[in-house]
């Protein structure tokens, strides 16, 4: 009972077993194997999974999460210091996203009166303007809010 099966880890973390196997394929997780080839996780996997879940909430991609996990000293349980360092990064990320959404909302407010929806003048439709409103120096919307750049149709 000192190690966990996939099913147990799944029940206790709230992830699906398929997700745990997927995370292993993606290098976010690893497991010992029994003689018969079944996974056995140390209890620390739950902490690791909590970390992954939290990171996903913050909006990090699996690539970014893998990178963050790789920065944690390998087979040591993360310390308070590790957690603090990383959570600062997440905080920045969240702040960026919040700022972008607030800018968007305020732009929306200032747009309610005009009814223009003009491509060139309406803040809502123009990511560049939003970027500008966040201050100087090439600010952009954080990843999850950023438009995938069109390959076609270079803007006039």
């Amino acid at each position: 009972m000192n190690s966990l099966t996939v099913g147990e880890a799944a029940r206790r973390s709230g992830f699906a077993t398929s997700a745990l196997r997927f995370y292993e394929r993606e290098g976010l997780l690893s497991a010992e194997r029994t003689e018969g080839g079944q996974r056995r996780y140390p209890r620390s996997v739950l902490r690791r999974l909590a970390f992954i879940r939290a990171a996903r909430h913050v909006g990090l991609t699996l690539d970014e999460i893998r990178a963050a996990l790789d920065e944690l000293p390998s087979s040591r349980t993360p310390t308070r210091a590790d957690w603090t360092r990383i959570s600062k990064l997440w905080r920045e990320r969240l702040n960026e996203e919040i700022e972008a959404l607030v800018a968007l909302r305020d732009g929306l407010d200032s747009c309610i009166g005009c009814g223009c929806l003009s491509l060139k003048r309406c803040l809502m439709s123009n990511p560049g303007d939003i970027a500008g409103s966040l201050g100087p120096g090439a600010q952009y919307l954080p990843k999850p809010l950023r438009e995938p750049e069109p390959k076609d149709a270079t803007p006039s």
Copy 2:
């Protein structure tokens, strides 16, 4: 020159031509055709595209956008009233998202000290708790932030 080709509409809206055709297949756009079968858009398509772009920024899915567009009296250019009605909906949506992110950030702050990452106790890893912190009555994270519910691994 009173109507636009796909290419012109693409250049002037910033969407790729492939996106415009895709939107038409998806019922978000429609176009007249020339004798030869080419699309000709009225200038109002630019307003419609601006609407779509804005809605995408707000985080609406194409399904939701189609629904919103269908509520606009069909072949009439949206009035200030239409725009106001809809932008109020978007505002709410943005506010929900902002609140959820702020709750997440504040949870992160309160977590920095504890270093727990405990599945049951850490706000960051527990969407239900975040929902609770937003007030009573089954509040959840807005769509883009909401976890896709696992089919497997029903929480213990």
